[in-house]
Amino acid sequence: MAALEEGFTLSAVPLGAGPHGLLGVEQSDRPDQFLVTDGGRTVILYKVSDQKPLGSWSVKQGQVITCPAVCNFQTGEYIVVHDNKVLRIWSNEDVNLDKVFKATLSAEVYRIHSIQGTEPLVLFKEGAVRGLEALLAEPQQKIETVISDEEVIKWTKFFMVFRHPVLIFITEKHRNYFAYVQMFNSCTLSKYTLLLGHEEKSVIQRFTASVDRKVISLMSLSSDGCIYKSLIPIHPNDPEKNQRVVRSLLLKTVVSGNVRNGVALTVLDQDHIAVLGPPLPASKECVSIWNTKFQTLQTSKELPQGTSGQLWYYGENLFMLHGKFLTVIPYKCEVSSLAGALGKLKHSQDPGTQTVPHFVNWETSRGYGFGSQNSEQSKRILRRRKIEVSVQPPPSKQLLSTIKKDSEKRIVEELCKFLASKQTPDFHTIIGDIVLELLGRHKVEPSFYPRNALMQLIRTHVLSYSLCPGLMEVALEKTDVQMLQLCLQQFPDIPESVTCACLKIFLSISDDSLQEAEINMESVSDYIDSVQEEKMEEQTEILHNGFNPEEENCDNCDRELNKKPQDTAEETTSCPVIPKRAALLNAILHSAYSEMFLLPHLKDIPAQHVTLFLQYLYFLYLKCSENATMTLPGLHPPTLNQIMDWICLLLDANFTVVVMIPEAKRLLLSLYKFVKSQICICSELNKIEVSFRELQKLNQEKNNRELYSIEVLELF
């Protein structure tokens, strides 16, 4: 649905001193900046969103600007013509128009056209067209006459059609109108006679045009207040012949008839046009948006102070004179749908929640250029894009401001609200920003530790270590094992040093503080029973009492192990750590790492912690070996490979230490024995594999029938 938003005045300085109002409003090479040329001597560059002028240039007293200033998009310079024949080119840095580049031409200029993607074109009053470069190379070149003597150019427009520039201009001669279409890729000029149909007597007042793939739709506002449409082919069948174009009625009486001045129209998009003028003879002047497809008035806005009958449309702003001021009225048109009309899509119209495509639009960050009027398609896209950009920030911004000052409770509330709202494409970066903001505040006031909010943010599954580098450091500082576990489970890209730091904390934190922590136990629940805690005491006893200094060498240890089968039995069945610690260690086992980067950090772990971890890994390994599939029961248990890799890593990193500590040495021996027995089993299996195969063969042969038999077969 098309809508006109609240307009604003661009300049407090009265413009349009001349009787004809402004000469023109043209885009500059930067988005949101426009060149406004008044009827006298001044060109002003405005930044529309800031509503202020950025620069102003004037010609000398006595000189008159005859053609609106345009921007050369290829060079970023501005071009203006004064006194019909004098061309001036300047850039932003120039102050005085007198001292800038000047070229005097041999013929009078009607307009300079400049649009993105091509060099500016100069249209002479005689109908000839020149590229700017060619013209500047030889300013005094002879300009031919294209149109006949009494023909006068009334209106002109420049398009890009499939990257080829196309210029259309309308001339009038004795109330007959002619359209000229100049193609620059083929250098053809086609002339069309506009037939007015039965509205012969009406005078065409204003033109506008849009271009489709193959045709230019020329719309004209006649003095009877109706809009007519004529279709002019871009690629004429026979360029030489003078062709005729009929016009058809598009909209009836959009403005009251018999109004000489103050009417204008411009095409907004495929289906919408904006019309300036009084809708009824007596009423005030108004800008109104019409839907041509349904022939309905979409919206209108009164301009009580009168207007000059000039209307420009760039990007999504309508420019017009309101009284003595240049007024900008933003226009927007949302895609209307039947479901929306019936209320089915109502939620999407709620303020604050936008329907945003679910894919990431990479172009949002690239800024948005203003599409020129000629390509309706791109304009629509641009407009939609801009809506996105302009409406996104509020909820997160609000949240960020909340974070800066409010209490934790309030933050959590706001956060809930924010998370409940729809996810935008850059949701993850916003979440990252929020985390960074929270951490920033924590740094400034250390008492502020919004744990719940952070946990909630991590659980969104969109965070990664690189998005919020400080988060795990803070959690490490606070020994917040729950959050560390959560991070280890959620983040795909934790550096090895941080993983190792987590491991250190998990191994060193006291059982008492662990009991208080709320830890996700799903990875251990199935193989460590809760009775474990009692056994813990015994376990430690064994650890400390198991060593006998006399049994230094391996054989003795062997014997010792054999002698005390009850010890090993106990060792195999009891977990050396409490389940909560086991759950934390499992999170470490699951995390990704690269050996090369992990090994140096593993060396820093204190010896008794290494022993403890090894004991736990050994326990897992034994548990694994209990069943044939070599897996642990439960949800996300560590795999055998992970366990073995970590055993190897730990031993590699701390071998010298481990062999020195008595209890670790004992553990090492039993580990060695166990691995050896496993290897034994495998080699024995390999040995008897042949026998297995023979057995299998025998089995097959039994099933096999004799070499010769006589059987009965019935065919049906």
Binding site: I679, C682, S683, L685, N686, E689, Q700, N704, R705, E706, L707, Y708, S709, I710, E711, V712, L713, E714, L715, F716
Partner: protein
């Protein structure tokens, strides 16, 4: 349809020879395969992979290399030091030529097909010029230290790569001198092996040499600098063969572990022009060494010690995903190795170097469908007839009465007379065979065992009258003027009046034996004939082709029969056309003229011409119907093709009498059991 007693024979102890070389010819889409017994087979890949020709082997002629030259000429070379050219029309050896370099290990034809290169035991590489009717020695290249095991031409023909033991040499063809020597690492899994044998080399147009060796490596060398560019360790055993596609965008290697690896040249990243060789697909279709691989534009072809020829289509190259895109595994020859004497219930088995004669057992019991009957007498092994000389047997036949056996090798024809006295059997060789009876491609006895028909190479057909202990030459049909194509298949009518003979490509010729004249020629068809038979009484000739079409041609009327026209009009059932082994034998029911019995390796079928033909919606392979099914339904679903897949792989099937069938099976497990054990792979632990 009927109930049969089936003699289910599994004592045919046939083991195909292992495949030694394969050579693919792009122009004719034919594949030459050589086996360890010296046999060379030609498969026509366009004709449903039919083995259309074969050259019998020779004990002393171990083929080590096989290649096609310009004009579809086939050469082989072997350890007897000879280069052999084969005559693909007459199906014999054109000439042999000694290379005088000791055993030949490798051979390669130049990219233009006009020069032949052989690598010999003494380390010499010899260049031969291929002349229109022979080959001519041109010169030796620089002698190397040890045997040349592999050779490959650069596509421009200016350089060659030769794989030897421990090193690869690059020769300049013009000067014949070594320009580069690339030493191959002997290390194998960290252990220094004695020697590293370069089993295969491939020279690419960009100068890259790919080598495969006994240490399990596939290596890429820069031939200009002689440096190793890339190394893929792909196997714990030898990598024995390599073949590169014509586009040089993919190649295939075969290992001793039975694995075939496909390597492809793929872009490093999408849209980047930089490409590298990547090992893309491993295939494990073999249990034993893959001695030879070939790369056709659309398929990878491999063969080895396990005797299977495997044709694995590349799915990305196959345009239509039809039945042709399926994997083919060819194990058994597409010709008959078994003949049968119906009267005496004897089976004659043909092996490479001997024949075996067996008498079938008997039973007095009866039973219902599926029963195995108790034997009153077991099958007897009557005779083991060893050939004289080193040549392989080409063909053999036993007469219907059981008193004659004939077989032929490349240079000799043997005819034996068998005498049965109670349980004793005596064998008497008929001596003084005429000189023209030297080599036969096919032998056939007439139904009354009074005549012997011999198809010799050179295309002539001899008719011999058999008398008690002697013979008389009756007539020789000379080949049509201008053709030298040999006849490979023969069929005689039971009344003894007609003889049908077919070559590999031209039509089937029908001769009148009474007046010894050519009666007619059945129009030739695009696909080779795989089996022929003439029906009793009607004298209808039934012809099976490799594209699974079956025609019935009335010899007296000289035209296709009405039934044949009907089935051609309607078309065969799609499942019939999708079978991948050819029909190798056709026979008829003596009492039911409407029945035709035919079989391939995986099914046998009785076609009842009186029943309606199946269309594509019909259930084609009717499973044994349950007994309670009403007669009406059975009649409604009944169609002409009665198919049984009980016996497989089925090498031979025939009707002994109205109620008795004989089926000779050769289970694959039994073949595998006779092969050398494959390389052992550990199952437990690492």
């Amino acid at each position: 349809m009927g109930e049969f007693k089936v003699h289910r024979v599994r004592f045919f102890n046939y083991v195909p020879s292992g495949i030694r070389c394969v050579a693919y010819n792009n122009q004719s889409n034919r594949l030459a395969v050589s086996r360890t017994d010296g046999t060379v087979e030609i498969y026509n890949l366009s004709a449903n992979y039919f083995q259309e020709k074969f050259f019998p082997g020779h004990e002393s002629r171990a083929t080590e290399a096989l290649c096609w030259a310009k004009g579809q000429r086939l050469f082989s070379a072997g350890l007897n030091g000879e280069i052999i050219e084969y005559d693909l029309q007459a199906l014999n050896i054109k000439y042999t030529m000694d290379a005088f370099g000791g055993p030949i290990w490798s051979m390669a034809v130049s990219p233009h097909g006009s020069q032949l290169l052989v690598g010999c035991e003494d380390g010499s590489v010899k260049l031969f010029q291929i002349t229109p009717d022979k080959i001519q020695f041109e010169r030796n290249f620089d002698r190397q230290k040890s045997r040349i095991l592999s050779l490959s031409w650069h596509p421009s023909g200016t350089h060659i790569a030769a794989g030897s033991i421990d090193y690869i040499s690059v020769f300049d063809v013009k000067s014949g001198s070594t320009v580069q020597k690339m030493l191959v690492d002997r290390q194998y899994m960290g252990v220094s092996k004695r020697k590293c044998i370069i089993w295969g080399v491939a020279f690419l147009s960009d100068g890259t040499v790919i080598s495969v060796d006994s240490a399990g490596k596939v290596q890429f060398w820069d031939s200009a600098t002689g440096t190793l560019v890339k190394n893929h360790l792909i196997a714990n055993a030898d990598v024995q063969s390599i073949a590169v596609s014509d586009q040089e965008d993919s190649f295939v290697v075969g290992t001793a572990e039975g694995t075939v690896f496909h390597f492809q040249l793929v872009s490093v990243t999408s849209n980047s022009s930089e490409k590298q060789w990547v090992r893309t697909k491993p295939f494990q279709h073999h249990t034993h060494d893959v001695r030879a691989v070939a790369h056709s534009p659309t398929a990878l072809i491999s063969g080895g010690t396990d005797t299977h020829l495997v044709i694995r289509p590349l799915m990305e190259k196959v345009e239509v995903k039809n039945y042709d895109a399926a994997l083919r595994k060819i194990t058994f020859p597409h010709r008959r190795l078994i003949s049968c004497s119906k009267k005496r219930q004897l089976l004659l088995f043909q092996f490479t170097h001997h024949l075996e004669l067996w008498r079938l057992g008997s039973t007095v019991a009866t039973g219902k469908n599926g029963d195995t009957l108790p034997l009153s007498k077991n099958a007897d092994h009557l005779l083991h007839l060893k050939t004289k000389g080193p040549e392989n047997i080409i063909c053999s036949c036993i007469s219907p009465c059981g008193s004659w056996i004939a077989y032929s090798t490349t240079s000799r024809f043997f005819l034996y007379r068998l005498n049965y006295e109670h349980d004793n059997i005596s064998l008497q060789r008929v001596s003084k065979m005429p000189a023209f009876l030297r080599s036969a491609l096919q032998i056939l006895f007439s139904e009354d065992s009074a005549k012997l028909f011999v198809a010799s190479n050179q295309g002539s057909l001899h008719i011999i009258r058999l008398l008690e202990g002697s013979f008389k030459h009756l007539h020789t049909f000379q080949p049509q003027s201008g053709t030298v194509e040999s006849m490979c298949l023969l069929a005689v009518s039971p009344d003894g009046n007609w003889l049908a003979a077919s070559g590999t490509s031209a039509g089937v010729h029908v001769y009148n034996i009474k007046n010894l004249k050519l009666h007619c020629t059945v129009p030739s068809y695009n696909f080779p004939v795989t089996a022929l038979a003439i029906a009793p009484n009607t004298n209808n000739l039934v012809i099976a082709h490799s594209d699974q079409q079956v025609f019935e041609y009335s010899i007296p009327d000289k035209q296709y029969t009405e039934w044949s026209r009907t089935i051609q009009k309607q078309g065969f059932h799609y499942l019939w056309l999708q079978r991948d082994t050819p029909i190798t034998h056709i026979s008829f029911h003596p009492k039911r003229p409407m029945h035709i019995l035919l079989h391939d390796a995986y099914m046998f079928c009785i076609i009842d011409k009186s029943l309606p033909l199946p269309n594509d919606k019909t259930l084609f392979y009717n499973p044994l119907p349950p007994t309670n099914e009403s007669d009406v339904i059975r009649r409604r679903t009944a169609h002409a093709f009665k198919i049984s897949k009980i016996y497989k792989p089925l090498l031979f099937m025939d009707l002994l009498d109205e109620r008795t069938l004989v089926a000779v099976e050769r289970p694959l497990d039994d073949i595998i059991a006779q092969l050398p054990p494959p390389i052992k792979k550990k199952k437990f632990g690492t």
